[in-house]
Amino acid sequence: MMRPYTPKDNVQAKAYYTDRYWVAPRVPEEPVPEEGVYAEDLAAVKSAHEVLKAYIQRGQLVIHINPEDNFDVLKILKEERWYEMLSELSAVDFLAERGGFEIFYQILNLNTARRIRVKCFVEENRAIESVNPLYRSADWAEREMWDLMGVKVNNHPYLKRLIMPDDWEGHPLRKTYPLEGDEFAQWYEVDKIFGKDARDVIGPENRDPARIDRYDTERFARLGYEVPRGAPADMVDKTEETPIRYQEEEGVFLIKELSPDKSKVLDRRK
């Protein structure tokens, strides 16, 4: 039997043009039903403020609003529609694509067990109003958003870094922030503890996990296969095992010598 023929011309070019990375499928967006709780929620928001986009995703209502309206919209949803709990609040970095952050508020109605996600888009260097007076859980969430993403929050009672140290520079969860840290981050502890002059003494961090140092054979040895300090590298491969000693050979002052023949080795658990 012959294998079915598949055209193989231009294989390289095809690989070049296909996506190299797996692209996550988007969760389908469904229209908001004409009637029901979510329709009423949406109508309550629409009557007071502009709604840019609204849809149902995985059975939850998602509302896109203007960033100026965030406090008022959440106030309506909390006081008129009883979405009393703010379960999560954060920002998503879209700096490269759209030049700003998408901020989402995930709120929950404890009576009907329904959730709404309110989203708004703020440009970089634009601040957003704090929702802390409405939801106490916004306090730390907004501080974290400021700390890691650099989204300023207006009228927050105590906008201070939450996770990184107070004197940190930069906002590490931005996609432009290097994973291994910028220069400030790499020298942070040295600069802070010993001062900038100590940089030469301590040297840069070794961030190459595959680095091989010729002197490693002198500094480290396999347990049980120890070699004298500074021994050449070819001494290390020896197959003969050095017994692990728990005491010095000549014994220890005032302490009974441990004799391997007299000690009992438990070879299974009791």
């Binding site: 990184m164 922030y177 994973l179 840290g181 502890e189 503890i193 002052f253 005032l254």
Partner: protein, 169 residues
């Protein structure tokens, strides 16, 4: 003068032991290495297991202390973050001489798998380290062996000499 019934010289054993000052001081030091509880991450669980009844650190005279003033050795067990680096140095400075440091686990040795902006790449960038334990996490046996090695190291040192100035003290 009291007359003793036992003739110590003949029955082999004067109630006197002759030794050097070094030996007796090091005997005391090496058998009462009090450790500062310094659990920073998952390695701390293994450190606690070493202190608990199955492995029983008390046998070696190693008792965990919650104060740097009472501790001789700092067992850095876990991931040292950049935010915390300042405090580890402060606690190390508060320990009284002579003092030793055991760096436990890959994170404390080199930063381990956390090759990130927030992790100190090896706690020896901040404090001088005497012993490095490999492993993620090292088993309690490894920590036990490290304490025994540290005992051997202490016994080799001269007792009255002040410790060699370690890097950037």
């Amino acid at each position: 003068m009291a007359q003793h019934q036992v003739n110590y010289t003949q029955s082999g054993g004067l109630p006197v032991a002759l030794t050097t000052v070094d030996k007796i001081i090091n005997w005391g030091r090496s058998n009462s290495i009090w450790a500062l509880t310094y659990g920073l991450a998952c390695c701390a669980i293994e450190m606690m297991a070493s202190g608990a009844s199955r492995y029983d650190f008390d046998r070696f005279g190693t008792i965990f202390r919650a104060s740097p003033r009472q501790a001789d050795v700092m067992i850095v067990a876990g991931t040292l973050t950049k935010k915390h680096a300042e405090f580890i140095r402060r606690l190390y400075d508060q320990m009284s001489e002579p003092k030793w440091v055991i760096s436990m686990g890959s994170c404390a040795n080199t930063g381990g798998m956390f090759n990130t902006y927030a992790t100190v790449q090896g706690c020896d960038r901040v404090i001088p380290v005497d012993l490095y334990l490999p492993g993620c996490a090292p088993r309690p046996e490894t920590l036990q062996y490290a304490v025994m090695l540290l005992q051997q190291k202490i016994r080799k040192e001269s007792a009255n000499k002040s410790q060699k100035p370690k890097r950037l003290v």
